[in-house]
């Protein structure tokens, strides 16, 4: 699949720049003054943020205003114009993922691509994907090596098991959340409203896959590395004190692109697609390969499968 980001987003970016330029005239002066006092925002933005409603309860206008606040905040914080969108789910699409563990070589290219694509805190070292190094013939996760660091992978006698959010169809994290700050979207992606999460971390306790991560500190990202194509429910810069997780690159996949981890995988071990499309590659895998899911016995119905050749 070719990367059509440049062509597609060019007019959008221009428009964004013009809007930000005009806005900058009125807001710029106030912003530079107000920065320390209101957490890197103008007073009116901080005020509006505080009273911002739950994502699902906001009107279209309110969401637009929220998106603009997110863009302004990024401008003040990183000096970068980002584009924060709210691309809706596509009709008749439910995403699923499958990994061919006989192809995975443990390079962790997926991990690095995910960190960059999703604006993960560099100093906090949050990573949505964890590749486990396992002994051949062993499936017990307690014998997995999380921080393998040999001179060369793959290591003889080992296999590699990438784990990330399984986008469960019956997600225990969603049940746990006391304020409904996390839920499953119609396209099957379990998302977090970072502006609604209270940071109690009960979802992290409930998740059997250790897929949820907390911003213990303000996530730091070098301005030049910031991915400016963002989604409200996806990779926009996150505040401190809230939980985040893999969202199948919602900012890409809702526009028909591949998740960054799949694009980065040099071995073709990753297969992503629409579970409702009988002609999709993922459906082929489910129909023709011996697939299994992690901790299936817990009844969370992951939409994430593993198979081998």
């Amino acid at each position: 699949m070719s990367d059509d980001r440049e062509i597609k987003d060019a007019p959008n970016k221009f428009d964004k720049a013009r809007r930000n330029f005009l806005r900058g005239i009125s807001v710029g002066a106030a912003a530079s003054l107000a920065q320390p006092a209101w957490g890197g925002q103008t007073f009116s933005d901080a005020f509006a943020d505080f009273f911002q409603n739950h994502y699902q309860k906001m009107s279209a206008d309110e969401i637009d205003a929220a998106l603009e606040r997110i863009e302004r905040k990024a401008q003040i914080r990183y000096g970068v114009d980002i584009n924060c969108e709210n691309t809706p789910p596509q009709e008749n699409v439910v995403f699923g993922y499958a990994i061919n563990i006989s192809r995975c070589q443990g390079y962790r290219d997926c991990v690095q691509a995910c960190v960059k694509e999703n604006n993960l805190g560099r100093d906090s070292q949050v990573q949505y994907i964890r590749v486990l190094e396992m002994d051949q013939g062993v499936t017990n996760l307690e014998h997995s090596e999380h921080y393998y660091d040999p001179a060369e992978v793959p290591v003889e006698g080992k296999y590699y098991l990438p784990v990330q959010c399984m986008q469960c169809d019956d997600p225990p994290c969603v049940k746990a959340c006391p304020v409904e700050a996390t839920w499953m979207e119609p396209d099957g992606i379990v998302v977090v409203d970072y502006d609604w999460c209270i940071g109690c971390r009960y979802c992290m306790t409930a998740c059997p896959y250790w897929a949820r991560h907390f911003n213990w500190t303000e996530p730091e990202i070098p301005a030049e590395e910031l991915n400016t194509d963002t989604h409200y429910l996806g990779n926009r810069p996150r505040p401190r004190g809230v939980v985040e997780k893999c969202h199948f690159c919602i900012q890409r996949t809702r526009k028909g692109r591949q998740p960054a981890c799949m694009e980065a995988c040099p071995t073709g071990a990753r297969i992503f697609g629409n579970l409702l499309d009988p002609d999709s590659e993922i459906r082929y895998v489910l129909a023709n390969k011996q697939v299994f899911r992690l901790k299936e016995d817990l009844g969370t119905e992951p939409k994430f499968w593993y198979f081998s050749d």
């Binding site: 307690e142 409904e180 999460c197 306790t205 250790w210 500190t217």
Partner: protein, 408 residues
């Protein structure tokens, strides 16, 4: 008008006392101020100043929360004999017990609040204004039952004390339904708190039906321990008559509860260790260490030893009857259960992680200081409540118009 005067008089009583009383209040205030100062540090830097991590995402705060809900629930052990069996000796101290429940619930709620990443968004929990995931989320359940218990334990004593203050007889028929409600509610708060943990198949260590009963049993041992010690302090500093029969009853309850608690612990150990599967990794970590990591091991054995020694003292009649040995048993049981169902219960749930990673947790000085501040706050609330309650119960604090003699 009478109620305003009652509140005003009660408040004045709370803040009048001997020099020693004031020194006590000041000492508590100093610890609270220190805790608040360190909490400010946490607010400005984020929860990174705690020892918690993505691996062990709950720590000392939630450990104290779990323990304190038990202390709050234990007030029911005074409420039942006082209002159902009409034990006059226990009726005399039941309001002190309910004051302790109020203080414990406040502490429990504060421990959850300081654990939040975004306390500024607490309003998201308010039904209708925010979004409250009830009845699905167990944490939402906990908010409901804790705030309800808090209100019940304020309301009933308030009504009784207000009448006593005015020299009027309380209407038993009016308040008795609330007493019954409070009794069931007490069990519910601790059951819900246990379910908060046991509802997670992702955490095999907690995922046992025994957790609820175990929570109740340990609460009914640690709660009376604290009440027995507190009543003696009150008796001494406030010249408040506490019948020995009250202490004896509580000691007996404590003995039985501790027996049941240790039996439950043994049942857990047997089930997990006889055929040790992967689900036993956490309990193995707790009691024996795992892959060379064993920071909790000394604590759990220490806690178990305290509980066993306490139980031995309690089970030997002459020792239990001896107030000095009883007090030792109370201190041991209180500390032992605080460790066992605080750190000893919460932390192993996270070790190893669901992906099998072993990462240890040690609370930082920020967590210890904030926790100390919250405990001091709870003791302060209890002190003030007890001060007013005792003054009214002793008849020192009366509405000027209601000076006629009061018969209980």
């Amino acid at each position: 008008m009478g109620m305003i005067r009652f509140i005003f008089d009660g408040g004045r009583e709370m803040f009048s006392g001997s020099r020693d009383y004031w020194l006590w209040l000041l000492a508590l205030a100093a610890v609270i101020a220190w805790g608040a100062f360190r909490y400010y540090e946490q607010l400005t830097n984020g929860l990174v100043v705690t020892g918690m991590s993505d691996q062990v995402s709950w720590g000392f705060y939630i450990a104290n929360f779990a323990f304190l809900v038990g202390i709050a629930a234990a007030a029911v052990l005074l409420v039942i004999p006082a209002y159902i069996f009409h034990r006059q000796d226990i009726k005399d101290v039941v309001l002190v017990g309910e004051g302790m429940a109020v203080a414990a619930v406040m502490m429990a709620i504060m421990f959850v609040v300081v654990d939040l990443g975004r306390p500024d968004r607490l309003w998201h929990m308010i039904p209708f204004i925010g979004r409250f995931n009830w009845p699905t989320s167990l944490l939402a359940w906990d908010v409901v039952v804790l705030s309800g218990y808090f209100v019940l334990n304020l309301l009933i004593p308030f009504y009784l004390l207000y009448n006593r203050y005015r020299g009027k007889e309380s209407n038993f028929r009016l308040y008795f339904p609330f007493v019954v409600l409070a009794m069931f509610w007490a069990i519910s708060i601790h059951t819900v708190t246990a379910f908060l943990f046991s509802a997670n198949p992702a955490r095999p260590f907690w995922h046992t039906a025994l957790l609820g009963p175990r929570f109740i049993a340990s609460a009914f041992a640690s709660g009376p321990a604290l009440i027995i010690l507190t009543l003696q302090v009150i008796k001494k500093v406030a010249n408040y008559e506490v019948s020995r029969s009250v202490i004896d009853t509580l000691a007996l309850i404590m003995t039985i509860a501790m027996q049941i608690n240790l039996f439950f612990v043994g049942a857990e150990l047997f089930t997990d260790f006889y055929n040790e599967g992967t689900h036993a990794a956490s309990i193995h970590y707790l009691f024996l260490g795992l892959d060379g990591y064993n920071s909790l091991q000394p604590w759990i054995w220490f806690a178990l030893s305290l509980n066993v020694i306490a139980l031995v003292i309690l089970m030997i009649n002459p020792l239990r009857a001896n107030i000095r040995y009883l007090n030792i048993a109370c201190v041991l049981a209180f500390v032992g259960i605080w460790i066992e169902k605080g750190m000893g219960l919460v932390i192993p749930g996270f070790v190893p992680t669901p992906l099998g990673e072993i990462f240890e947790y040690v609370p930082t000085s920020v967590e210890l200081s904030v926790a100390a501040g919250i405990w001091a706050f709870g003791v302060l609330v209890f002190t003030l409540l007890a001060k007013a309650v005792i003054a009214i119960e002793q008849g020192k604090l009366r509405h000027p118009a209601g000076q006629q003699s009061y018969s209980s």
